[in-house]
């Protein structure tokens, strides 16, 4: 099952849209400045619809099947959120609207900032960052700016556990700081001796994920935070796993100074096939003035409760600056706001309780079937190994690919790196027991197949639109554009040294 490229169904002279007449007295176009041609497809509206609907059928998605992708929180994306973001008053609102003309949007953003801060026990939040990675960059730049603001110029290192997502060390480098990797102990917790040895006055801070990337709550987390603070460093929490924490613990109360939230994970905004998202950042009183801006502030409070207060956009006084051209992915703010409004505080706590319940249920059912490197109560996800004693040549990847034949998306593979052949499983709270039971049965069947008929796994998937794809060829014979590029005969000088 493959679909032609849209360019392959194009025919000269065909068009899908009709546009109005110019309707004003015309001027001559500046001929010297114009391009000759524009190589876009020429297709009808029906052809466009069939093409993209057919393409959509080639995707696995939450709405078509279970998506237990660890650390990604592939929960149900409520439909009312989609309708809300498309309301004319939001969709047609210009980003540089005057404050008086955008009070509805600003009020919504203000509430969202306030709720996110409260949920994590922080003083304030910025909802500007477009993704978790951008939230991380904001947080690390804030830590850097904090030390510089105190004229403490020697702090250039950020400690990152070896269990961390690759984004953490990449963020540190991007911020112009140096990532120092810390080993984990056998439970996947921070090795306190290694931490003690690494701490000195060159440490700006530490990044850590809670619950850890192995899905467990580090029981020594308070010790870790205290030690880093005593050494003059600040604590950054990667909030990728926030779905386990709502109403369970407030990171700000635990002692974290700054964290990012993923509105596209915890707060149900859709992943969109790889974005857009929102990586909001929360901070305590030490760092709140350094948040990326603009943030929404109440400009005039109201005395009469029937009057709405006046909101405005402001840059925090010591802000690290702008991260986006405008005030963030507002469409995602609307979706997350709607989600939080419907659940309320108690409901969000129920979300985390059930996310943890579902993960532990699947973990309990698969114990003894797959090796579990950390065999204890987990958070909202858990890790198992895709490698069996006595069965050689079967990898986590083979199990993952075989799952596709059963209409189930694979778990996260090969992460965290400290677990060989890792399969990181996160069912989320929106899956019902029957769906989880089916997943468990399929995983058991695959474990049996690995022993009886390993070739079935190695050659999987069998029922997907395409078979295993040749990634090496894609990189070697690089083809990233299907059209011939016109040769402009420009004099070009290669750059650099």
């Amino acid at each position: 099952m493959t679909e032609s490229l849209i360019y392959e169904i194009s025919s000269p002279g065909r068009t899908a849209v009709t546009l109005p007449d110019v309707g004003v007295p015309e001027v001559e176009l500046p001929k010297d400045l114009l391009r000759k041609d524009l190589d876009l497809p020429e297709v009808s509206e029906l052809q466009v619809m069939r093409h993209f609907v057919n393409l959509s059928h080639l995707n696995h998605s939450i709405d078509t099947g279970l998506y237990p992708l660890g650390s990604c929180t592939m929960k149900y994306n409520p439909k009312v959120n989609e309708d809300a973001a498309r309301l004319a008053g939001f969709a047609y609102l210009h980003p540089l609207s005057d404050e008086e003309g955008s009070q509805g949007a600003l009020a919504l953003m203000y509430q969202l900032q306030t709720w996110l801060a409260e949920l994590s026990g922080f003083t304030g939040a910025s909802i500007v960052p477009a993704a978790g990675a951008q939230g991380e960059l904001a947080g690390i730049l804030m830590i850097r700016a904090y030390h510089l603001d105190r004229k403490d110029h020697k702090r250039t290192k950020i400690l990152v556990p070896d269990s961390a997502h690759g984004t953490n060390p990449a963020t540190v480098s991007m911020a112009g700081l140096q990532a120092v990797e810390l080993p984990s102990d056998k439970n996947g917790d921070v090795d306190l001796n290694a931490l003690r040895a690494a701490l000195d006055d060159s440490v700006a801070g530490m990044m850590i994920t809670v619950p850890s990337t192995l899905g467990v709550f580090d029981t020594k987390i308070r010790d870790v935070i205290r030690m880093v603070h005593e050494a003059g460093g600040l604590m950054y929490m990667d909030g990728a796993n926030m779905n386990a924490l709502m109403g369970v613990v407030k990171p700000g109360e635990l002692g974290f100074d700054v964290m990012h939230y993923n509105l596209h994970k915890t707060f149900s905004t859709p992943h969109g096939g790889g974005g857009p998202g929102c990586g909001a950042v929360g901070a305590n009183e030490k760092l709140v003035d350094f948040l990326p801006g603009p943030i929404v502030e109440m400009v005039e409070e109201t005395e009469d409760e029937n009057d709405a207060p006046l909101y405005g956009l402001k840059m925090p006084v010591k802000s690290i600056g702008r991260l986006k051209a405008f005030q963030g992915n507002f469409g995602m703010h609307v979706r997350a706001y709607t989600y939080m409004r419907i659940y309320g505080g108690e409901g969000l706590h129920e979300v985390s309780r059930h996310a943890v319940l579902n993960a532990n249920y699947v973990r309990a059912k698969l114990r003894g079937v797959y090796p579990m490197p950390v065999d204890r109560i987990c958070g909202h996800e858990f890790v198992m190994s895709g490698h069996f004693e006595g069965v050689e040549g079967i990898h986590a990847l083979d199990i993952s690919k075989r799952l596709m034949d059963f209409g189930i998306h694979p778990p996260t593979n090969y992460f965290p790196l400290i677990v060989p052949e890792a399969l990181l499983i996160e069912p989320t709270e929106t899956e019902d027991k029957a769906t989880l039971d089916n997943f468990v049965e399929v995983m058991k069947k695959i474990a049996q197949e690995a022993k009886d008929d390993p070739e079935l796994l190695r050659s999987a998937p069998h029922t997907t639109p395409v078979k295993r794809v040749d990634e090496v060829r894609a990189a070697k014979q690089l083809m990233v554009c299907c059209r011939p590029i016109p040769d402009y005969d420009q004099q070009r000088t290669p750059s650099g040294d």
Partner: protein, 449 residues
Amino acid sequence: MSYIPHTDVERQQMLAAIGVTTIEDLFESVPSRYRFPKLNLPKGLSELEAWAEVQAFAEANEHAGDYALFRGAGAYHHYIPAAVNHVLLRSEFYTAYTPYQPEVSQGTLQAIYEYQSMLCALTGMDAANASHYDGATSLAEAVTVALEASRRKRNKVVLHPAIHPHYRAVVRTYHQGNGVEFVGDTGKTIERTTADDLIKLIDDQTALVAVQYPNYLGNIEDFSKLVEATHNAGALICFVANPMALALFKSPGELGADIVVGEGQPLGIPLSYGGPYLGFFAVRDEYVRRIAGRIVGETIDHDGKRAFVMTLRPREQDIRREKASSNICTNQGLMALAACVYMSLMGRSGLRRAAEISYQRAHYAAKQINKLKGYKVNVGAAFFNEFPVKCPKPVSAINDFLIERGIIGGYPLEGDYPKLKDHMLVAVTEMNSKDEIDLLVEALAEAAK
């Protein structure tokens, strides 16, 4: 209201299978002092109640659905064919994750590949990535590509002051920690700086020169001398382009650009108060392996069938960790899909037609406004669909008057360009009919009184 499907019976069965009696038992590793804090959050609502509240927020805004909008400055109100939204609402697209597993993500992967191909056509470049967060972060990533291309031996970047002020701010935010020197956009005469004025700033430390096309003030400048000087100095030149203008005007590739970035929002994405938008990013062949972010490539599957996959993965943060040049993990996938569907619908002739209507109506508006007493437009300048208007009063006073007439006026320029006191930046698209333009002109005349 809840999206949690569990019944009481199921909860009990699940707890029994785990071997605990209550859900609370699952949280014992959280220090008890901090466990289960009180949340000062409102009570939950039904969908019906929440909808009413959200709708009230939406209705409190003055937007282009109710008002005639003449504001651009980096975000433009163009027509979006109905079919675009119908494709975006396919939940097979919007509820999917980043396409790490190509066998079950061919829909997303092929759409991105087609988007990349269309972007190459539009920009005249050899390769485009799957997108960045927005136009501003695309420019920040272009700086990184240029620094890397010089193997970090050069650390100077020349920014044209008529690049969007917010883009220049974002670039500085991104690079505040790595010692890049930004020149060209500071000083007392930035309002008058031309592309040729930047030539004297280029030296053997310059990694990148960046310009905007058309520039933030709407002008289409002649960059030919600047491009030549940049290349002679061994530096790269980046064009920040408006994709709608590229439907009509020469592509940056034809004009000698090495990198083309910009805001893809005009390509079928609603204004949405500033996001989500689409940062497009395209380069010449020699820099393709230095691009950060997702890139989709064509390959074959085990049976030899055409297939698509994310390629050049070893550049990325999850593999290279601290050695990666950027931490970006995603793109604006759904927004790239919107642009892909939009460009398919508009096609070879439709996109150019929309650009031409915008051009003609903008030139009509400029001419009519310039005739008004007290207003001045440089009608002799080459521009696409946006132009500064010198007003007889502060822009805020003019706009307060216009809003009463159902018009959202231009964006004030004085805040970013102090010498452009009482100047507003007016944008016109195919959404503004002649009647709307005439209404604007009439209201401006009255506002001057």
